[in-house]
């Protein structure tokens, strides 16, 4: 059993998909354990078919775990009233073909909002997603990007404590992505928690406090973004008073010579700098991009290379 309940907790959850007609099964999640902390933006990464959407659907009560346990806002997965406190955007947004404002009212009313609060919430959500000018247009005639913005609007309508977003920016153009990013940071500022699954690694890197990397249904790594991106194998020695020719692969940045070396050669490099009359300004671990880290983690044996935090 889970000993402490937070905003979203998965405890050793396994999910198998099985066909009605065959005994073959597909394991989408395997002993999946994760806890979200209140007020954070959590980035959920993984390749296609890694099990991200399954994990999200389990939290929303749209799937039932084969084994294990989980809680959403301190209530078991699938608890009806709790879902009113959660904003959800699915991966493939499918909407009824109705004028945007009427459809938004429909979703708001399903979340037990009533006038005049419903009216205010609709107006606010349309403004937040920059769709106020399209309020009377049929959602079926929206572009995919606009439908995705509408999906965000319906997720925000009941002022949720937790936002669960499954690839919400996939179809958005760059300005819309920037505005979604701002929106998520605003939500975080207002004390909301965001569970964000996305393939746009640069975005995850920019806004997420913590990251979880899933592969073949197992959580490979979970921890702070800053820690994930710092290399434990390589470091950068910044020095001045030296010529770049003496250090292979070194580059000049802001008048400093930056030498990228393996951690094991750090001492030797510093000594070389001193011997050549240079001055060491700083020694820092190399900061890599999330894309590099992600590929390294998921392309290999599938084993975590760093301990979980």
């Amino acid at each position: 059993m889970i000993s402490h309940f937070g905003i979203l907790d998965y405890e050793n959850i396994t999910k198998d998909y099985r066909s009605w007609w065959s005994t073959q099964r597909f394991r989408a999640l395997d002993g999946f354990t994760l806890s979200l902390e209140r007020g954070e933006i959590f980035g959920f990464l993984g390749r296609n078919g890694a099990g991200k959407t399954t994990a999200i659907h389990l939290a929303m009560g749209l799937l039932r775990p084969s084994s294990g346990d989980g809680q959403l806002l301190s209530k078991p997965f699938g608890h009806t009233a709790t879902r009113a406190r959660v904003g959800f955007v699915p991966e493939d947004v499918a909407l009824y073909h109705r004028p945007a404002i009427k459809l938004l009212r429909f979703y708001g009313a399903l979340n037990r909002l009533r006038d005049p609060r419903l009216q205010q919430a609709c107006r606010h959500a349309l403004e937040e997603s920059a769709l106020q000018a399209e309020a009377l247009r049929n959602v079926g005639k929206f572009s995919r990007g606009m439908q995705q913005r509408f999906a965000l609007a319906q997720a925000l309508i009941a002022d949720p404590e937790l936002l669960i977003l499954d690839d919400p920016t996939a179809a958005l153009d760059p300005p819309a992505r920037v505005s979604v990013r701002k929106l998520l940071l605003q939500a975080k500022g207002a004390g909301k928690t965001v569970f964000l699954s996305s393939h746009l690694l640069s975005e995850i890197e920019m806004i997420c406090d913590r990251i979880g990397i899933l592969d073949k249904g197992r959580l490979l790594w979970v921890g702070k973004t800053s820690r994930l991106l710092l290399s434990r194998d390589r470091c950068e020695v910044a020095a001045r008073g030296l010529s770049p020719e003496n250090f292979a692969g070194a580059r000049v940045h802001d008048g400093l010579l930056i030498i990228d070396v393996p951690v094991v050669s750090q001492r030797e490099t510093i000594e070389r700098v001193w011997m050549q009359g240079g001055e060491v300004v700083s020694v820092n671990p190399v900061r890599r991009t999330l894309e590099e880290v992600f590929l390294e983690l998921t392309d290999g044996s599938g084993q975590a290379q760093w301990p979980s935090v």
């Binding site: 749209l62 799937l63 009113a84």
Partner: protein
């Protein structure tokens, strides 16, 4: 509230098929009555009523069977069930939405057949009893189909609902008491025996039994739907 919203949504999503059914129902008396110039006889009017009543039940059954399947296949169900809507509430909404369609159609049939009966000089006092008969029959068939469609393909659900609703009557030669367990069949017999004769009465026992059976089917459907993986791809 969520139930009525979902029911209203079913009505809205099926507005074009409903319009077609409505046209069919209203065209019937015009054709039978020769656009007001012919006095139809009692057998023709009764046939029109019985035929359209059966059409309404079948139409409702097909709508109900496809409703959940279509919502799951299109993935529209995900946003609805991610809100504060229980699975049983969702099913009830689907059921009520379909029953709303059956009610509108039944009322249209009542008005049209009443006009036809008046034009043909037939008594109309018993005619309106067809409406509760039709509605309870629809509720029974729709709930049975919804129950089956929670785990079967919609076409299979409609097909299997026929033996499921009529099977107990097969035991009639062995024990006539078994016939009581097939209220759907009793309602159908009741409908087919309608012919403007003064001694025709509504089978109240069958109506009550059908309502109980419909409630049972709904309960079973809700229990299965509660354990269904909604987001899993359907086969």
């Amino acid at each position: 509230m969520a139930v009525s919203l979902i029911a209203g949504n079913v009505l809205r999503e099926n507005r074009w098929p409903i319009l077609l059914l409505f046209l069919w129902i209203t065209m019937g008396p015009l054709i039978f009555g020769g656009f007001g110039s012919v006095r139809a006889d009692a057998a023709d009017v009764a046939f029109y009523i019985q035929q359209d009543a059966i059409y309404i039940v079948i139409f409702s059954a097909f709508l109900a069977s496809h409703a959940i399947h279509h919502e799951r296949r299109s993935r529209r169900i995900l946003l609805v069930l991610s809100k504060a809507v229980s699975r049983s509430g969702y099913l009830m909404g689907m059921l009520l939405g379909t029953m709303l369609i059956a009610t509108i159609s039944a009322l249209a049939l009542g008005v049209c057949s009443s006009w036809l009966a008046r034009e043909s000089g037939l008594p109309r006092d018993r005619l309106w009893l067809i409406i509760p008969l039709l509605l309870v029959g629809s509720a029974l068939v729709v709930s049975c189909v919804v129950f089956l469609s929670t785990f079967l393909h919609p076409l299979l659900a409609v097909t299997l609902s026929i033996p499921l609703l009529t099977a107990p009557a097969l035991a009639n030669p062995i024990n006539p008491a078994w016939y009581a367990w097939a209220p759907g069949l009793r309602l159908l017999k009741n409908l087919l025996s309608f012919g403007f004769q003064p001694d025709w009465t509504l089978a109240w026992n069958a109506l009550l039994a059908a309502l109980i059976e419909a409630a049972l089917f709904y309960t079973l459907a809700a229990l299965i739907f509660l354990r269904t993986d909604i987001a899993a791809p359907i086969e």
